[in-house]
Assembly symmetry: C2
Homo-oligomer: 394 residues x 2
């Protein structure tokens, strides 16, 4: 298996897109290619991550369309869909394309334009990921599943609404520092929970989850350019190696799981990624976790092995996961504040980690020149998860 | 790069599905796994090919759902979309997963259920593949593009309506012999063109293309199980090696192409596949080409190198592409008669070739124990094409 490195990264502004999906994807892709400085060297293949273009944007075959717009003929092109885990799944597909020797330079671009539909339709659309017969027809949405999960988790491990708010406060504080974040607004415990207007300004969405426990519906695109590690040093920027990548699935219907507070697909995906990388959770210097709901950041930080089960909220309380803490989690603002263009997110997490490992993250740069990064991209309600370990240098 | 073999294959009946998309995909997948006889050995990854589930079937994350139904946890899972070339693109993704060493046993399943929408909506849906700004808003459908292509092609190379009808007659005759084909009805030149009722029964769809020059809107699912070639002999059936696989893209908008009668993506994809396989077009014993419209079978048979440019219709006239001819093309009935469940088709072509190379195609078996098979899966209007060379044995 050939070793694979990321030689370029780019992304659009996240938020409400003024532009079409394809234009956003072009911008991110162009930035990634320019960042790598490959000159006239051809891109051999394009992998696009997207969840809903056929439904929301009346477009299919996005990858071929992107090749056309960027004039990358005759590059191979495919679109990968894996719900909210589409992004990292596309990175994995690109990884295998390079690792196998089939392609050399592979562009992976994730994009989603959710604003073509309203918020109600967006929730309905994302619920296409729920179980077709056991969940969807009963109106079970992703926020509803997250609410039930949060209730059980809080009850079992002593996580309180204040802990959930701490995740939101931390990630919004980080988002304020990230010029490309969707929500650049600071939050306070008073505003979210304890103040007189909190109940009005932060109402329940799916009890116990409130408005600011849920990520926004965002538009955005991100891209990375992959190359064989042996070739990576020819280019402009410090290469970042994909040291390990793991994926695992779990029972689709959440109520069928032996213990619904466990996220075995997160655990297994992380184990595989660490094994491939020959590293352990304690080696990680910065992480981007899939905080579509605040509770998930806490739960994932335990399942991947950063903290013992039931202890994630205590580490959060101690400030260990802040920028400058022992293990900064979501310095970019995460899905919570940077935003969550569903099919895009896994790619944007990798872009953020590349910036951190190259020491280029500006105001939200994690101190101490981080060497190893880690991402979890969470599909469905944890039924398809991809974990990635990145390492600076080749 | 590890060599990759197909160790099992399965497919549903094609036609109007009585069952859900997921149930069809389960049936095909189960058949492929049973065909390989892998016993308790786990499937490591699942790649699904589908174009329209989010729009037409209100479902996303199909690959995870299939893992759930088949109880293949914690297998990795992803869905690949590439319009009508989704199927072969998924086979290529599975090929790279095995070739890279990331996964051993990989199930590739293509499925599409088009009958959830009516024929008008199906045409609209497939036109999502046309250029977003240069074609789609002007109402350019795929049959319209094929009609314009056919007119130019016929004018330049002396192809007549009778030649188009010969493709339909041949492929329907083959479809009659294939118990899983969608349209098992024989056609005659009198019925299609020369008889008194021909104009009524075979009206123009997009002149010069008539009703029977166009493939049907079908439902169906097919699956293959891939393994490293070194492992393939452990299993039940004669392995079929993926000797070469090539992919290429072209300009999206057909009118922008320097010569709209050329299909350079077909030519390049085939060249790459033959190069990887170390074989030439003359080594091929049986082929499945993407005859979504009759003219395409003729044009592709030339572009891939079976016949000189402009000579494909003459070989057809001489009967060379019939079962029993020098190079049987579409013995399964092709898209024309077996059917064209859009995202599925590329996988079903591979399943048909596996049956031929294993000498298991029954009434439509090509004589002489074919050793090498070849498929073209054509996306958009030729803007994204995958070609595959298969070889019996490892």
């Amino acid at each position: 298996m050939r070793e694979v490195a990321i030689i370029g990264a780019g992304s659009t502004q996240f938020g409400r897109a003024q532009w079409s999906l394809l234009k956003m994807m072009c911008e991110a892709s162009h930035d990634a290619i320019a960042d790598a400085g490959i000159g006239d060297r051809p891109v051999d293949a394009v992998v696009v991550a997207n969840m809903g273009a056929a439904r929301n944007n009346r477009t299919a075959g996005l990858a071929s369309a992107l090749v056309d717009r960027l004039n990358l003929f005759p590059a191979a092109a495919e679109t990968v869909e894996n719900g909210p885990a589409s992004g990292a799944t596309a990175v994995k597909a690109g990884f295998m394309a390079v690792a196998s020797g089939v392609h050399d330079l592979v562009l992976v671009c994730g994009g989603e334009r959710m604003r073509e539909v309203n918020n109600f339709e967006a929730t309905e659309f994302v619920s296409y990921l729920s179980h077709r017969y056991a969940e969807y027809p009963y109106g079970v949405t992703l926020p509803a599943l997250a609410g039930m999960f949060a209730r059980l988790y809080m009850d079992r491990y002593g996580v309180t609404p204040a802990h959930l708010a701490m995740v939101a406060i931390k990630n919004h504080a980080n988002g304020v520092l990230n010029p490309k974040a969707h929500l650049r607004v600071g939050l306070t415990m008073e505003g979210l929970l304890t103040g007189p207007d909190a109940a009005m300004n932060n109402p329940f969405v799916a009890e116990p989850l409130r408005f600011f426990d849920c990520c926004p519906v965002s538009d955005g695109a991100s891209a990375v350019l992959l190359a064989p590690a042996t070739m990576a040093k020819q280019f402009k920027k410090t290469p970042v190696r994909i040291a390990g990548i793991g994926q695992a699935t779990d029972l689709h219907a959440v109520h069928e799981r032996p213990d619904p507070t466990e996220l075995p697909a997160v655990r297994l995906a992380a184990e595989k990624a660490f094994k491939m990388a020959g590293l352990k959770p304690k080696d990680i210097d910065v992480a981007e976790l899939h905080d579509a709901f605040t509770i998930l950041e806490i739960a994932e930080s335990e399942e991947v092995g950063f903290f013992p089960k039931g202890e994630g909220h205590k580490a959060l309380e101690r400030g260990e996961t802040q920028i400058g803490g022992k293990l900064p989690i979501n310095p970019s603002g995460g899905l919570k504040a940077r935003g969550h263009p569903v099919g895009n997110t896994g790619v944007s997490q990798i872009v953020e980690l590349v910036l951190q490992l190259r020491n280029e993250a500006g105001d939200y740069q994690v101190p101490g020149k981080p060497k190893h990064g880690f991402a979890v991209n969470f599909g469905g309600f944890g039924n398809n998860v991809v974990a990635t370990v990145l390492a600076r240098g080749v």
